[in-house]
């Protein structure tokens, strides 16, 4: 195995020779296009967003905004928008949980049991991406509509009362989010499950662990990178989403994205920017805590 090579390489590697200036120049040249791109389309907008969040909130598009370093914007917006803000994080959490519950068995089945159907099943997971996010969510709106067959069927089964509806409920929004973000959970999970050496699972069996125990102490811990990546890729965009809440919910299911979008359209830049920055900061902090914990063994 390569481990031998790795180890001896690690212990014997002499200090790397100083890179020749030509090589270094090549490295910088290779970084240049991506760096410029990021500068132009990430750093500049980010700085301008941060700046906007500190403008005088009384300004308007017509009169212009002046930079007043209004840190109060954050406290004010949080006071006004605490509920949709909390709701966003809560919906994102629910979405992530459902995606994990649905996605793990699916990814496991594709990686471990699908055999020659593997590629087809992966293609099916990705298939929804062939239509736009918006169209798919609109289709859900039709599917869940009050006269749709789903509602009819559930009423007939008495799961839903005679006045019951699916559209315009929390369930509809979370279902839509779950549907839309499921592939982002499945793909990284699949990638990390697929990578697991089958002999490790066999070794578990050989060392007196039944199938469930082997899953708990071998497969699951080894798939944690996929779990972490999948939950991040689901949680982060779900927390900022507004399409699902807008199309499948009512103002009662409003998420922070809806407010940000509305405020930006209405020209309330400082408020919208302050909300965006707060959301971003909240997500960064949550992700950092999460990744820290996932990096240690206590998440397992």
């Amino acid at each position: 195995m390569s481990a031998v090579g790795q180890l001896s390489a690690a212990s014997q590697t002499p200090a790397p020779p100083p890179p020749r200036s030509g090589r270094r120049l090549t490295a910088y040249l290779l970084l240049l296009p991506g760096g410029l791109w990021l500068l132009l389309f990430f750093v500049v907008p980010l700085v301008s967003l941060l700046a906007a969040s500190l403008y005088d909130p009384n300004g308007s598009i017509e009169d212009g905004f002046s930079m007043t370093w209004s840190f109060g914007n954050f406290a004010d917006t949080m006071a006004d928008y605490a509920r949709p803000f909390g709701r966003s994080l809560w919906y994102a959490l629910l979405t992530t949980a459902f995606c994990l519950l649905l996605g793990y068995p699916l990814a496991y089945a594709i990686a471990m049991k699908a055999g020659r159907w593997k590629n087809l099943m992966l293609a099916l997971v990705i298939a929804p991406f062939f239509t736009s996010f918006l169209i798919r969510t609109l289709s859900w709106k039709l599917l869940l509509s009050d006269n749709g067959f789903v509602v009819d069927a559930l009423k007939w089964l008495h799961i839903l009362g005679p006045d019951g509806r699916l559209l315009a409920t929390t369930a509809a929004v979370v279902t839509g989010l779950t549907y839309n973000f499921l592939p982002f959970m499945v793909l990284p999970l699949y990638a990390s499950l697929e990578k697991i050496d089958r002999r490790l699972i066999e070794a578990g069996g050989d060392l007196f662990a039944g199938p469930l125990t082997t899953f708990r102490v071998v497969t699951l811990p080894l798939s944690m990178p996929g779990v972490v990546a999948g939950t991040l890729l689901t949680f982060i965009p779900a927390a900022g989403d507004y399409i699902n809440a807008q199309l499948l919910g009512t103002p009662k299911q409003r998420m922070i994205g809806n407010d940000i979008q509305r405020l930006f359209s209405a020209g309330a830049y400082p408020t919208a920017a302050a909300l965006s920055v707060t959301l971003m900061a909240a997500i960064v902090v949550l992700v950092l805590i999460y990744v820290r914990r996932a990096g240690t063994d206590d998440l397992v």
Partner: protein, 371 residues
């Protein structure tokens, strides 16, 4: 407490391919048993069936009086040292070794793990991850992880295959020492005939899903039963001949007009065409025309075509009048003549050093499989 491992009529059929073919095998309790054969001959498949990782298509596997053929792997008193070790990368060395005991809910496992790490001389490495160890160390962890469970049978699948030559020789001795110390039955799979010979009490030589021959290293080397074994275990000279009669305890074989004797007990066939086999170190060279006493087999009129001096011995190629070249190893004792290319020589050997095999077998079987 350990019992014999018995395989009866074991076959394994993969899609369109028979990997193991009607195998019968008894591994005596407490022995160091080697399954030797070239790559692809079905060794791993056989081992996996014993471990329960593969289901035999036909046949039964017993451990003493218990039939274990259909038992799930985690219910068998058998552990495996996997090819390339399969150590759990997310667990440290201590946890890797403790794995089996913990699964069996052994209470006081810590001192046992320490003791086992002691046995494989890795006490200071408990907190490291497998990726931080060298190949030889990983190999010892794999051994400790399996051995700590005191299985009735320990299965080792080419456990030394990934190590360099020097480390491999060292680990061979180590494994042998540990096996003697713990007294557990070892079934050791290898394609390295030297490894099998130095370590095993009993060797089963496998080829194409079948057992060609089973016996102690000395038995197999001294009296191979097939051309494959003759070539795969060490080297052999195989000369075409025909049985033309018998004299006392010997068969008389005609080789290109010259009569040679082979003891009946060393003959696999009793009539017709044969391969006459002699190991290179059992053949001697003498200057052409040298008189040999009675009871010595001789082939005359050979010419030395190649000489390679390798210190302790010299390897000659001697071409017989009908064109076949024989390999001859002479120890450099200083007591015997040395020869040069072009010298005319006679070849001789003791009848008890030769053997007869069925001429229907391929004289080159197993030659190209040796590494």
């Amino acid at each position: 407490m350990t019992s014999d491992l018995v395989l009866e009529g074991i076959s394994k059929q993969f899609a369109g391919h028979r990997a193991v073919d009607n195998l019968d095998l008894t591994v005596p309790a407490g022995s160091f048993f080697a399954l030797l054969g070239p790559s692809g001959c079905g060794k791993t498949t056989t081992l996996r069936m014993i471990a329960g990782l593969e289901e035999p298509t036909t046949g039964t596997i017993r451990l003493g009086d218990d039939e274990i053929t259909g038992l799930r792997p985690y219910k068998r008193p058998v552990n495996t040292v996997f090819q390339n070790y399969a150590l759990f990368p997310h667990l440290d060395i201590f946890e890797n070794v403790a794995f089996g005991l913990k699964r069996r809910k052994v209470k006081d496992y810590k001192p046992k793990v320490e003791e086992m790490l002691d046995l494989v001389e890795l006490n200071d490495y408990g907190k490291r991850r497998p990726g931080q160890l060298s190949g030889g160390q990983q190999q010892r962890v794999a051994l400790a992880r399996a051995l700590i469970n005191r299985p009735q049978v320990l299965l080792l699948d080419e456990p030394l295959g990934a190590l360099d030559l020097k480390l491999r020789r060292q680990m061979q001795l180590e494994l042998k020492r540990i096996q003697t110390e713990v007294g557990i039955t070892f079934v050791h799979v290898t394609h390295d005939q030297e490894e099998a010979m130095t370590m095993a009490d009993t060797i089963a030589v496998m080829n194409g899903g079948l057992i060609e021959q089973l016996g102690s290293p000395a038995e197999l080397y001294d009296l191979p039963a097939t051309t494959f074994v003759a070539n795969f275990l060490g080297q052999s000279n195989l000369i075409r001949g025909a049985i033309i009669g018998q004299a006392d305890e010997n068969l008389i074989v005609d080789v290109q007009g010259r009569k040679v004797l082979v003891p009946k007990a060393r003959c696999r066939v009793t009539e017709g065409e044969v391969w006459l086999g002699i190991r290179p170190e059992k053949v001697f060279l003498a200057p052409a025309g040298t008189e040999e006493g009675d009871g010595v087999n001789q082939l005359l009129g050979a010419v030395v075509t190649d000489v390679s001096y390798v210190g302790v011995s010299t390897q000659y190629l001697a071409k017989l009048p009908w064109g076949q070249e024989l390999t001859v190893f002479e120890q450099n004792t200083g007591a015997r003549d040395t020869f040069r290319a072009g010298d005319a020589v006679d070849l001789h050997w003791r009848p008890a050093h030769s053997f007869l095999l069925d001429a229907a077998q391929d004289a080159l079987a197993g030659v190209e499989d040796v590494e």
